[in-house]
Symmetry: D3
Subunit: 328 residues, 6 copies
């Protein structure tokens, strides 16, 4: 069952989301401060199991306010390099999982950094990064981060997470095995939303793959879906009735619609017509504003699971073409 | 339908929860540190609406690490005093709500402090207290706090919340309108669990009312219910499989079973035989260990809603008897 | 998620409900008969607990056909009077609950009569009034009253309940402590629907507060929601297929849309845009027909719980202004 | 999945239900009064459609307090008679349905009276009998009758319905086409409970077929199932907490366990091991007390739907054997 | 709640389904081949129970590829004949059930053949026919047949089932007791879809009764409902993403919309406005294309259960009128 | 919440399942016939995408009755060999998915054959193998195979699938790159049940890894869970009531409990204490009968998802140890 507009209307739909006047300044200041808080670095520790064809590393790099962010790095065994690289962000509630999962990208010849998600990583895959090194948020937890700090753009959880995602690119660029000119960002759902955010905040990406991106077109999302996680916003507003304007203002600084309008790298989007979690119009809302070269893949019979392995194969082809990476 | 053992077996049931050797030291240190962090104080600001018979105040007092904790104080209008006082804690997910709610206790002649719950207050009633004054946890949010900081007793969310609850007594004792010798604690579900925790950490309470208390007998709770919020623990352990021992250790420092064994004030418990949220055996687990004078009220046909207004009337009679407070 | 039209369309929406030609005669006859059946009276019995600031009374007054209707009266302690008064009606399934609940209105200086609901009072709060003194309906019960007697307007359950609600005003006017010129009606959901019905049948009310009113715009309600209690109508028609015209005719004598068109007192409505129980268009259906001065409060992010304590504060201000009642 | 004890334990299980001392007097008085209220009669009106092999009649006879009770009579076309007869009672929420349904029994050569259920007949099949000829209960309605009048045995809904069921036998015995010595009662779920009640109150029945009978072993039923309709009792007790003893007393006058202990006709019971609605132990509770000749059919893999057409075939064979009725 | 367009729009709605160019050839070849595979025959075995007024027979006849198809034949006892006949098809998941069920049609004077459904008959009523005499599909099973063989029209399950349904008419025509000029087809849901298919493939039917027919207007059905069984198609396409065109092509050979456009017998359709399983627009899609005389019955307050016994009475009158069959 | 016995009782639990006398003959004949139907062979076709480190092949080999069974073969790129090999079977409803998924085993240095599941592959991952090359079952479909052919052991679906699984070993042994003495079987849920079946039917396996195996201890499974797919059996028996003995007999030829008692290879089992799909006692039922060396891994806080990536790491270590395969 369609969960949103039929396809022909999606091509006509345009988001009503507005971008705050100081959006660019807000993010420029945010990134400047975090970069000043800690010089870039990336710590790699080789981990088990010992695979024949891929080397696995536990990664730590400085994110928002220089806080240590974890991840996994997967490098084709015996790679000479420099190689093209993919930085991947994760869906809502999950963490980086285990090092020996998600082997496609390195098996295909890419250096693959999978960034952990601060303060998530307790719902469907384990994380290892707290939202804050202080005691109040010292590790992964059952989520609810959609509303954390939502009363002000400066305090909002996603300000920190987006900054981490931008800094992940800073970090991977320092590796010798990586070709700086051939770095792509990739993600599904929340990961796709982060990929679009990074695309709007950097001009050095070679490609962007945003599958059924979340964090997009908030005013419409709240109106048309009651699926979590967008619904966490409604739950919050249902008891904090007096804060609606304030909350919508905070969200306007973190909407993929606005990030997309500042992007330049070639992008592949996907949307699923039966998706109640990231309804397709919210994806098209960002897509139509995307300022770079772009293409849209529609999955007509899928829900939020969207293209899964079929999407991976298409994204692999897209990234190989864009990053001049091909069969070995 | 009974959700747990039949009543006659509940009277025989004993919790298998153990108390860590350094449990008392852990809490003594915790309270000492927080008391050292900020001298006790209580700030009162009169708020609207202007009720004929009750004065309403916005309250701020220093909790864990001296962090500012909010609450409402409701004082019988024109009270001479000193009056008996009730400190009430709130159920999971909720905040202090609105000042003009919950008027029974002040209408009955008590000074009534309703403590806000740090970092909750976004699910069914609004809160105003963040888990931390820092940006990572700066306001209420959709919950998930059962697993926040759960990897170590020192970092666990409930260490902070229990300390707030203890400090609320410190704070209300400084008010002239309050008779220090006639202070009771009261709560339902999470609020009941906090009341038991405070009862185990103070020796100056006149009475304790713990309705269907939560935060009790964790090993059994995890085994017998899949209702939230206990289920958040299972969700966490389902992805952080290697942390089970560590998590159970953290919980053992925060279990009402252990707090109860150190309590001395007269206490009234309640349990509901059809309650899937705080199954009655987990309540009896704490009750049988309770070291002070005690009584148990069983609601045979209720779920977690338990006794509601009927419970309030019985608790009112119990507190009037224990606090020598009676019809005006 | 919006459960109905977006807000701008709600302002344009008009109900298609029609009013039977003999609507006014039907109700005039109904009230005349019931008033003839028993002279007005109100019996008050002081009840426990003894609160310092509010006197609680068990109330009995003659309703439809003179049948005894229960309620609670809450009077500010030591009130001189005459005071402004609020008559409150209750939501579907509930009864008057307990005397010591719902203390805001008396705490704010009003005489507060909370009318019990005949034959309900078994689902979420206890009632004490049967639908009939005969054996067939001698006490509260699990509901289903939406379809009781629905085959004819004369037999319909709501004919009796609306008459009770009108008679409650007759009754409270006889109290010395009440200022007859300052009586308001108040209710949420079914209570709001009853408030509108009374507003359409009396011209002596000082104000009307109808929160997310139920019992309104039946033809549309049946078409757009499958939430109970409107859905009970569909369930009935699904097996009594041949009675559709008959049932809709009965409902047309009991629709808040028609009552509203006959009202004159100043009214405050509320509607919630995410309410599946009393969808907002059904509320606007009554609002647009309301013949007196009127205002509408929209809760954009709430379901049927609507404004809760926030609504109470606004209603309190509204009633204080309309009833010339203010801070003591 | 088994919803109750395994089969071998069901054979050992005994109900703890007790029978009030004045149980027999209560029912003797009840029947005497109703029989005195109206002499027995049965009104038959031939109805459409005109079937080749069965004549269909709309039936009215005096039930409790002489109130008119509806039903359908189905008579083999051109029957000479006197014939054996079956009186059938209906499951919870349903009414007599349509005349042209349920043709097996008349097709097999029985006179078949299907009694309507007062005040039900709005949930899954239409009824035509109100609970009372007065306005409070003048027709079928969405149910909730489990708690109607439950505060006293004299007022309880099932006192009226059981009396109707007994009077249906009085009525059918007056028909020339019926052989008085060959009358059986039959029912499923509520209908089975009524069949047992009638079996306990009459000594002139030739056979009893009680399929997965409801209305049996209330104390255990409340404890072990949360499925409706037993759950309506729990819902009532959850808000009328002070009435538990009173309610259980009322039920003890209406429990199939007690009726069974007074029965003498040969009976066939059935129980389904995966039935959450009438859990098998509650059926065995009545079975073990049944004082007449008896047999039990267990459906090991069915829920409350139990044996359906397979049960009908077995019941048909049972009734043919007991009523000396066989293939034409 | 309406599950689809409001009634006035249903009258305007037209299906967008297209008919393949070789649709007629496809079906002509299919039927020719099956008729060639086995000469028509019908085997009757008298079965228990022995009913006074109806003779019950176990039926076997050759269906698709000559495979043996089961059914029940119910014949008015002692019928002279030739009589009018009804061939009935069954809803999704069910089988022919038991011989002694469904006695209305024979009681009303019709010869009644109820065809079993190959490979179904395991979900709500028992079947006895496998999809294939080979081991892979040798009996009834829990369904999933919507997607069996869906990759090609030739392999699709419904090609076989529709052929069985056509052959059932071939078979019944060979009985002496049947008047060949007075044969009607009848069915609800899947049975209604089969009735329309047969109507499109034969020109010798006297009447067609299609209640809430399934298997109709697939492209729209997939888009607007997520209820099973249409949803099985979506589930399939959600993992076989590359096969959408192929699957839709297969369905276009089996759509009641196309069958209807080739029909000539007078037809009675029904649709239910609150039906999520066969949404009313998909029924109107077939209805508007139906090429014979036609009428539509709308059930405004029903879901997929639609008219039940009320529908049976109307269908009975319709068939009696069309088949010149009347009260005996 | 525990879904079954507590752990200490699981260690004591023993299955009551019995093994038919001709169990061994049944399977010997089955395998002999299938091996006779087609000589072993394995067809490999290199497929896209071209991965740097793993070669992907589409596989076809002859299974039951020589029917063509699909699969994927993943071979470490540039492998000399002979290498240790893993044959993996898939969970219920799924198919082999996509070639580029599930890369761990080949990345770790194993030849990895993932066998497709006949007639499944339509619910959560795509398959490509029909249950039969004939039209009745010519491709993947929405499942229901638990009851396909269940009336006789010879016709039962799992007889065919188990034979395929045995033949997969025959096939892989023919590859030069595989070391015949170092072949393990692996699977989760249905895949685990198949691994145990193969372990009971072959004596040439080097290791067996059965994660939360399904298809085990049917009599108990039916009694204690209502989760699918075991529940499909209950659904079938609920309408085919007369076939219970017959169905249980069929299952007794296909129960992992009996296969386990004939196994010899070292085995690793896992069970999850909160698993409602394959309740842990049904796993222990097979484990306690397992005749080879064995170990059990318990996941105390997991449902049927069980150990996921954590399980994979432990299984990898187990297989490396057993197959003398280690870090490259």
């Amino acid at each position: 069952m369609l969960t949103d507009l039929p396809l022909e209307q999606l091509w006509q739909y345009r988001s009503a989301q507005t971008t705050p006047d100081d959006f660019d300044a807000f993010w420029a200041d945010t990134l400047t401060e975090s970069r000043a808080a800690a010089p870039i670095s990336i710590e790699l520790v080789r981990v088990e199991p010992d695979l024949a064809s891929i080397e696995l590393y536990d990664v730590t790099f400085p994110g928002f306010a220089g806080q240590p962010i974890k991840g996994w790095l997967r490098v084709p065994a015996g790679a000479g390099g420099p190689l093209p690289a993919i930085v991947q962000y994760i869906g809502y509630g999950g963490g980086r999982g285990r090092a020996w999962e998600n082997l496609l990208w390195a098996s295909a010849g890419f250096v693959h950094l999978q960034m952990d998600t601060r303060g998530q990583g307790a719902a469907w895959s384990a994380g290892a990064t707290g939202d804050d090194p202080g005691p109040a948020a010292s590790g992964p937890q059952i989520a609810g981060v959609m509303t954390r700090g939502i009363d002000a753009p400066e305090d909002y959880y996603y300000r920190r997470l987006v900054t981490d995602a931008v800094r992940a690119i800073d970090a991977i660029r320092t590796l010798d095995v990586v070709d700086e000119s051939r770095i792509a960002v990739l993600g599904t759902s929340q990961g796709g939303g982060l990929a679009l955010a990074v695309a709007g905040l950097r001009d050095d990406l070679a490609a962007v793959a945003a599958n059924v991106p979340f964090l997009s077109d908030y005013p419409r999302a709240i109106a048309i879906t009651d699926a979590r996680p967008y619904h966490e916003l409604t739950e919050y507003l249902a008891v904090h009735r007096e804060k609606a304007e304030q909350v919508l203002r905070t969200l306007s600084y973190h909407d993929a619609v606005s990030f997309s309008s500042r992007a330049s790298a070639p992008a592949r989007f996907s949307a699923a017509l039966m998706d109640p979690v990231t309804p397709p119009s919210t994806v098209f809302g960002a897509f139509h504003r995307y300022a770079g070269e772009k293409e849209m893949r529609v999955w007509p019979y899928n829900g939020h699971e969207s293209g899964q392995a079929d999407e991976e194969a298409e994204v692999l082809a897209f990234l190989r073409a864009r990053l001049a990476a091909g069969p070995a």
